[in-house]
């Protein structure tokens, strides 16, 4: 029973990290119908920015953590907005395929820039940024960080859910995702609204990047690909475009992978995990929370 509970905790922690990154994919996809393939690399960028900023913020004493978090989130938000302006906005009317290529290209640019700035070696993430330590319940260990990750994930998800469904800008974002030009006719400033979406995606991704860094202490310039692709799968599983879907998709992926490694075979974990998920998609093609939009014409 202890082992089972421990695996459950392992899976939830890993899954909520994936869910965090998946939120960024889902936000942008909902509006632009674009898979922002550069998102994984933005997440990596956040972790590296924290490595540089944290030592500078140490002087601020107890506020160092808050300052670092804020500085990283703001920087990544700015870069996310620039990314949209440079790589996506000029192509808004172009075929989707051009946008995908542009997204892949932007991802490579960011990844290689990280390598040139911070080097190709794995880097150690600042250990004092998030509370370290463990809680032990009989034989089960739960790190404080994994509790923070899970709570933060739920908090961010609820905030975004309320923002999208209850606020003026949120409803505009929903309108925009249905029809650009009609939303414009309602007086929606399309450029600003798209910018807000990228800002949210970037900010949430930045948090995710720092949580990855804190969880595993090492960050490499190329890690965005692996996390990106898994989070993307999580977003699809949850139903891309759905905010709760991103979180539950992440948890589902994390738990499935963990239990496959723990109870089936570690060598076959990836194979079995993705096979199960393919089967799930066959029966629920729109994912857990995805709605198929049947429109009356």
């Amino acid at each position: 029973m202890d082992i089972f509970s421990q695996q459950l905790i392992n899976g939830l922690t890993y899954g909520s990290l994936l869910g965090f990154i998946a939120l960024g994919y889902t936000m942008v996809y909902g509006i632009l119908n674009l898979i922002n393939f550069a998102h994984g690399d933005m997440v990596t960028l956040a972790a590296f920015l924290a490595i540089t900023i944290a030592p500078l913020a140490v002087a601020a004493g107890t506020l160092a953590m808050i300052i670092t978090l804020a500085a990283v989130v703001v920087s990544v938000c700015i870069i996310a907005i620039l990314l949209e302006k440079i790589a996506y906005k000029p192509l808004r009317a172009a075929p989707r395929l051009s946008l995908i290529v542009s997204a892949l290209g932007a991802g490579m640019v960011i990844k290689n820039a990280i390598m040139l700035i911070w080097g190709a070696n794995p880097r150690i993430f600042p250990r004092n940024l998030f509370p370290a330590g463990l809680a032990k319940f009989s034989d089960i260990s739960v790190s404080y960080l994994s509790v923070i990750i899970l709570l933060l994930n739920i908090l961010v998800m609820l905030t975004l859910y309320i923002f999208i469904n209850k606020t003026r800008v949120g409803i505009a974002i929903k309108a925009l995702s249905t029809d650009y030009s009609v939303a414009e006719l309602m007086g929606v400033n399309v450029n600003n609204t798209v910018m807000i979406v990228f800002l949210i995606g970037g900010g949430v991704g930045a948090l995710g990047g720092m949580l990855i860094g804190a969880s595993y202490t090492t960050v490499t310039f190329s890690m965005g690909f692996d996390y990106g692709i898994k989070a993307f799968i999580a977003a699809i599983l949850g139903g891309i475009g759905s905010i709760p879907g991103a979180m539950f998709g992440g948890l589902l992926l994390g738990l499935t992978y963990t239990f496959c490694s723990g109870y089936v075979s570690s060598a076959w974990a990836n194979t079995v995990t993705y096979l199960l998920l393919i089967i799930l998609l066959i029966f629920r093609p729109n994912g857990l929370f995805g709605r198929s939009l049947v429109q009356k014409v």
Partner: protein, 381 residues
């Protein structure tokens, strides 16, 4: 995306191939991961080769010919490795040191052999000498020997009851784990599980939790230091009371950084001595020359082994009095006995393997220093 990039590189190489030059220089190539995950090792290799070559040139070159070094970055990947091999051959390299990883070395062997270029590397996968490439030899020891040494230590020295083995999917790591498992079997040891991890991932808690339930006395990992550090940290986090033993690729200063200093203490590393532990006069001189030249200590034993490989080639060419690669490799594999290497006496067998072994078990003590707790019983110190 990667594919297009490769095609682009291929085209560039075709262009480069046109300006093949002939000159009076003797060209030594370095094929190493200058960037990427193993960059610190690759840069160490390149630095060591440049240092040895510079010292040889100061003595008037090799049989009167000056030596030049060219470097190609293979990022540790087999695709880039074969591109590098073609480039170095085209640029006239006669000897190539490389590469750091076994997969990258394997991918380039045939190209060098066909061009009669002597290749030596620190790679340890058993397959590398099984292809019978006449121009390949190594100053390192293959994984089977490390497997034998490790199994003997676990079963006969530490008398571990339950042994848990972890490896990743790389040919080096699975090869080494296979050798350890095979030899533990031969000695009658008890392996409770043999697990795999995905080296692209960072969360290994699922596998470790599974292992915890089996009450192991030791957890052994055969892969590289990045994952090894994470495994050790997560073992401590999950409170698994077992010795942690890493194979030779755990032997890197970053292991301690990644695991965290407190966690790294009491980890065991099976491997070769660290550079500072070598007390042969040649080794002491190499260490201090390297420090003076690069303002940093020798990164790892692999750097020294690669330097030894190059020193063996130079010595052979001096002894046969020609820079001809075929004559030199013949002499290396048949004629030279107990060359005074930086890592001890070197004799290369006909199949390209180095005779004997210099393995030992180090433990990381509370000062974060390596403390040798066990030597190879056959060759002693």
């Amino acid at each position: 995306m990667k594919k297009y990039f490769l095609v682009l590189i291929m085209i560039l190489i075709l262009f480069c191939a046109c300006n093949r030059k002939t000159s009076n220089e003797f060209v030594v190539g370095v094929q190493a991961p200058i960037t990427g995950e193993y960059a610190s090792e690759g840069q160490g290799m390149s630095n060591a080769v440049k240092l040895i070559v510079q010292q040889q040139n100061d003595e008037g070159g090799l049989n009167g010919v000056m030596i030049k070094v060219i470097t190609c970055d293979d990022e540790g990947s087999p695709q880039k490795a074969s591109i590098c091999a073609k480039k170095l051959v085209n640029d006239g390299a006669k000897v190539v040191i490389g590469s750091y990883t076994s997969t990258a070395t394997a991918a380039s062997q045939e190209i060098y052999a066909n061009a009669s270029v002597i290749q030596t590397s620190d790679a340890t996968a058993a397959v590398l000498t099984q292809g019978n490439y006449k121009t390949y030899f190594r100053a390192s020891f293959n994984d089977d020997i490390e497997g034998e040494f490790t199994a003997n230590y676990f079963v006969n020295v530490k008398k571990y009851g339950n042994i848990a083995i972890i490896s990743d999917y790389s040919s080096f790591s699975s090869g080494l784990a296979g050798a350890v498992v095979k030899n533990i079997g031969l000695l009658g040891g008890n392996i409770v599980c043999n697990e795999k991890i995905d080296a692209n991932a960072q969360d290994f808690k699922a596998v470790l939790t599974k292992i915890k339930a089996l009450n192991p006395d030791v957890i052994y990992f055969s892969g590289y230091y990045t994952q090894s550090g994470l495994l050790r940290a997560q073992q401590v986090q999950l409170d698994i009371q077992a010795d942690y033993v890493g194979g030779n690729a755990t032997d890197n200063p970053q292991f301690i950084e990644i695991a965290g200093e407190q966690n790294a203490i009491d980890s065991y590393l099976v491997g070769l001595p660290v550079p500072e532990q070598l007390d042969y006069p040649e080794a002491l001189k190499f260490n201090s020359d390297y420090l003076r030249e690069y303002k940093a200590p020798v990164p790892s034993i692999w750097t020294v082994i690669n330097a030894d490989g190059l020193r063996v080639v130079f010595e052979a060419m001096k002894q046969v009095n020609t820079n001809d690669t075929i004559a030199a490799i013949e002499h290396i594999k048949g004629g030279m006995k107990d060359f005074r290497g930086l890592t001890g006496p070197i004799t290369i067998q006909r199949n390209g393997e180095r005779a004997g072994s210099i393995y030992r078990v180090n433990v990381i003590n509370s000062d974060l220093d390596y403390e040798t707790v066990y030597y190879d019983p056959v060759s002693g110190k």
